[in-house]
Amino acid sequence: MNPSREYILNKIRALRQEVVEAPIIPEFEVAEDLVSTFKISSAANKGEVIDREAFVALLESGQYPRIYSTAKGFESYTNITVPQDPHEFSDLSLAVVEGQFGVAENGAIWLDEENLEFRILPFITEHLVILLDKKKLVGNMHQAYAKIGNTKSGFGLFTAGPSKTADIEQSLVIGAHGAKSLKIVMI
């Protein structure tokens, strides 16, 4: 047996604490209009919700030289050879992935390994686009975890906006280490 493990557990057990029950999480009301609430939340995080037409125009604008898209119906926009080694994504201009659902109260979007064959993708890419079905919105984080349930993905991510920092004099700067922009295509 690991002596430190036993030491720690025995120290806690020696306290003979009475177990206090965990509370039941109350049901809280959520916004009526999930789509507009999501858009407001996302904008506050410096994300941007766009429609399909705007997205296609963006893809065809030529401003993203290296694109990798795993989103259904948009795979053909991939113009790189998918690397074996994820380090090679370091000069990727745009990644396009599908999100599973969005959370209206904070603009967070859930992705797991179903959407992310490469865990590094939404971070290493210079710009990120997430496709989101507007019927797949929940009101708050409690509903979000109810929806996730006990799925068993090795990695899961709530992402809510582009990478940002305010570590220099509290000045907000977008694009610290991860994606410099997040666009959400609502379909």
């Binding site: 690991n2 430190s4 493990r5 030491y7 720690i8 557990l9 120290k11 806690i12 306290l15 009475e18 177990v19 206090v20 029950e21 965990a22 509370p23 999480i25 109350p26 809280f28 009301e29 939340s41 506050a44 995080n45 380090h87 370091s90 109260e105 603009g107 967070a108 490469f118 865990r119 590094i120 971070f123 290493i124 708050n140 984080m141 409690h142 975890y145 109810a146 068993k152 993905s153 090795g154 990695f155 899961g156 991510l157 709530f158 992402t159 809510a160 906006g161 990478s163 920092t165 305010a166 570590d167 220099i168 004099e169 509290q170 700067v173 694009g175 610290a176 280490h177 991860g178 994606a179």
Partner: protein, 453 residues
């Protein structure tokens, strides 16, 4: 130097102290706005607090459950009873992987263990990748705030540091320019690292997964590129169920920075193919604190920093004045439990206004615990200092009614006559930054006699 002495040094630069005060209040203000946008805020705090009550009362079971599930998920679990063992475990993992350089995202726990210094002594190059932490690392300083590590520095200072270390343009103070320079510099480090180290915000017993929250994405940039992820976690960071994440993620960022949620909330359940995840579970005095009935609730802390942003003392004395890894109100109730003598001035670094308790997302009774620590420290102090001499004198006066009556009228006279040089001498710390009150003409007792209804 103790807290008041270091605070005095901080306050010498009046302009900077004012800026520090206002900047943190700005963050506190953002927290107020966003928390008020949620009608159930108080209920959420209460729920979170009760979940933590459950965690602390059943910690051994949850740790065992967490370990069992994490192992089943293919995560390697290590246990460390103190900082020394923690650091050895980490070094051992690095040596096994023949690793001489790591990238690290924010972890107050590794600050607590002085891991960086230990690894560097053993030939490992450590790169802190949170922008604020990288800035203070360039200066060989610890973070001055647990969420905003470089909050004590102005952009001109950051510009000078970056000019020196990253060869940025001299005099270019633009935060976007400076951040981009750090982005390019740290990208190289991310791409080269074989091992990445992170802290842990929440470990879920039910699933064996753990969650790491950042705004910059630095934790994820590190771990997904490296072959090995080492996650260092205090044993109190356990929560029972996945559904409880909903409660804590709603509270954490709103309390910390006034955002509705952090940008990246990564849930690590099992390593990617061909990779490794290690978790180091650390005690380092936590089980000791759990055994202190009056102080165990301090272990509920989720490290949001809200108590620092709101604290009138923290805002006006700076993080370094505390001389403890976690500064501010929460640090002042955690640190005496680790080293009572070293941190004996910290529970007095408070006005006991209670604002810290009011903003705490898990409802820790911080100001009450500060008061309790004061009792403990006063009891433990054997040497008589100037203050306790005054207290003994006061005790004599208050216990004899005649002396109190006489003393009162003498005092009313004395306050008028007391020379400025005595009141504001260095012997009387009370006199610093304070004025004596206007003296009433008569005592309350005399007034009552005259005006009896």
């Amino acid at each position: 130097m103790n807290h008041p002495e270091k605070a005095a040094v901080f306050l010498e630069d009046k302009e900077n102290a004012k800026w520090h005060d206002e900047t943190l209040w700005f963050v506190r203000d953002k927290r107020d706005v966003v928390s008020k946008s949620i009608p159930e805020w108080e209920e959420l705090r209460e729920t979170a607090s009760q979940i933590k009550d459950n965690v602390l009362s059943n910690l051994d079971e949850y740790l065992v459950e967490f370990e069992r599930n994490a192992l089943a998920n293919g995560i390697k679990v290590h246990w460390a009873k103190d900082a020394e063992e923690h650091n050895k475990i980490v070094l051992n993992i690095l040596q096994q992987n023949d690793c001489k350089a790591i990238v690290k995202s924010k972890s107050i726990l590794t600050e607590e263990c002085h891991l960086n210094q230990y690894l560097e002594k053993n030939g490992v190059d450590v790169v802190d990748t949170d922008l604020g932490e990288r800035i203070v690392q360039f200066l060989n300083q610890p973070p001055s705030h647990i969420v905003l590590p470089a909050i004590h520095l102005k952009k001109a200072q950051v510009s000078d540091i970056f000019h020196d270390k990253l060869n940025t343009e001299k005099g270019n103070h633009d935060p976007s320019y400076l951040t981009n320079a750090a982005r390019l510099h740290l990208r190289e480090k991310f791409l080269a690292a074989k091992v990445a180290l992170t802290g842990v915000n929440f470990g879920v017993a039910e699933t064996g997964e753990f969650v790491v929250c950042t705004n910059e994405g630095n934790a994820d940039m590190g771990v997904h590129l490296a072959d090995v992820h080492v996650a260092c976690m205090g044993i109190e960071k356990i929560i029972p169920k996945r559904e409880h994440l909903g409660v804590f993620l709603r509270l954490l960022a709103r309390s910390a920075t006034g955002q509705s949620v952090t940008n990246y909330n990564s849930h690590f359940r099992s390593p990617a193919k061909g990779k490794e995840i290690h978790i180091v579970l650390l005690d380092n005095g936590r089980t000791e604190q759990l055994g202190r009935e009056k102080f165990k609730n301090s272990l509920k802390c989720i490290r949001c920093g809200a108590c620092m942003n709101t604290c009138p003392i923290y805002r006006r004395s700076g993080g370094y004045s505390y001389g403890s890894v976690v500064p501010g109100p929460i640090g002042s109730i955690l640190s005496p439990g680790i080293d009572l003598k070293k941190h004996s001035s910290l529970p007095f670094a408070s006005t006991l206004c209670g604002s810290c308790s009011d903003v705490c997302p898990v409802k820790i009774n911080i100001h009450e615990q500060l008061y309790e620590w004061r009792q403990e420290i006063t009891k433990a102090q054997t040497s008589i200092n100037a203050k306790s001499l005054a207290m003994k004198f006061a005790n004599g006066i208050f216990s004899v009614p005649f002396a109190y009556k006489l003393g009162g009228s003498m005092m009313r006279g004395a306050l008028k006559l007391l020379p400025h040089s005595i009141t504001y001498s260095n012997l009387n710390t009370w006199g610093k930054e304070r004025d004596l009150p206007e003296v009433p003409k008569e005592s309350f007792k005399d007034w009552y006699k005259k005006n009896k209804l």
